[in-house]
Amino acid sequence: MKKLGKQTMEFVNPPQFMSAASIVGNKESKGPIGDYFDEVISDGYNKQKTWDQAQIKMTSDLLDSLLDKAKLSKDDIDCLIAGDLLNQMVASNFAVRDFPTPFLGVYGACSTMIEAVAIGGVMIDGGGVNQIIAFTSSHYQATERQYRTPNEYGDKYPPFKQRTVTGAGGVIMSNTQGGVQLREATLGKVVDLGVADPRDMGSAMAPAAADTLLQHFEDTGRDPSYYDLILTGDLGELGKKLTKELLEETGCHLGDNYDDCGVLIYNSKQKVGAGGSGCGCSAVVLASYVLPQLMYGHLKRVLILGTGALLNPTLSLQGETIPSIAHAVTLESTGHLVEGIGRKKIQNKLADKIEVAKIEALNGNGG
């Protein structure tokens, strides 16, 4: 491991991704990238009595799925790193009660997934562990109830409000050959530009995202065009626009290779305001959409940011603003295929595309 610039770490022995899985809600499965997700839960209750229990069940099912896909057992894992939005992070630590493995709880609001991946990367590259699971989850009703008004209460949402994604996403990272590798991590600082409206998380988080992006480019000496895809976690339509404009003003131009997980996950007809948010948003997009694309070579280099609004409902009532944070990691394809990344249907689809691309390239050379 090596320090680059001020806030970036370069992994000298890049940690490898062995497995990636996701479980989502109904609405998410009907979105534009719905086909990529491994499993769908039946409804908000997920066959449990309460929403919190539903999220805990979804999370523990995710862990089983991660191990299954990579044909690993619980004993092969040295550490679990996770967090979520519920108080005391119950969805994560209650879900691993039966896991015979050390657990590290981390909280970065919706940046938790990327934070967990970065920490796991450090532990693997440092040689302290061989294999870890990083995961997180969020649940629309459970989150809504904790942070806002009851679900069935009829207040009108502004068009810039986002919808918390129901979904759990996770990855198994390892020191043995995997399908995708972790190259760098840029840890973010807490940024607050005075946004106080709890319905407007995109505006609160955009300055943090822009700050971490700028720092990453400065630390690595790269510019945005270096990446095939730059993805922010859950800024939504509004936060995405603001991030672009904030960077534009400093002379950093984000082109067509920039997108946001919150914008990707729903389509415009799903009545979700400015898009998705929540820990699960970037986690399921990373696990089921970005990693398979990288493994099959459709993307070579990806910069993904987890963006978290460190909102607290009590302090919000006391007139406080919303501090925000963003962590970034860079991912590269390794050229190897592993079974654990992507679901079968998607693996076939992505692999087909590669064959087609190869044949076209051959024909091109022949002509």
Binding site: P159, L193, L246
Partner: protein, 148 residues
Amino acid sequence: MGKIDKTQEEYQKLIKKHQPQGSPIRNFFAAYLVGGLICVFGQFVLNTLQGAGLSMADASAYNTIILLFIGGLLTGLGVYDEIAQFAGAGSIVPITGFANAIVSPAMEYRQDGYILGLGANIYSIAGPVLTYGMLTAFLIGVIKLLIF
């Protein structure tokens, strides 16, 4: 590349520029339409009850109960919050909105048990309305006592 160099005021201006706002005129008409329809329905029920031979006082009481029931039922069926996305204040202000404000926390906190969950939180939305409704009534009462 530089740093993000913005004051809070400058950033607020930037947000205003990009933040999509619903049309106030559309909101006004949606609220008027739905709120008006609820009132027309209430009037219809009142007239029907009076037509059936109830006194004005009895008919009003039954009318209130019927409207509260419908508001509660639509909340339970998961429809009321959908209506509110269109109607805004049009579905909050009438008495059906009050039913929604009581029934929605009741549904939400039932998960945490009937006593400390539902019982403690059922007024979490309507509580302020009740508190300041009573305070206002008290103040008006004092004013009436002093002036008349």
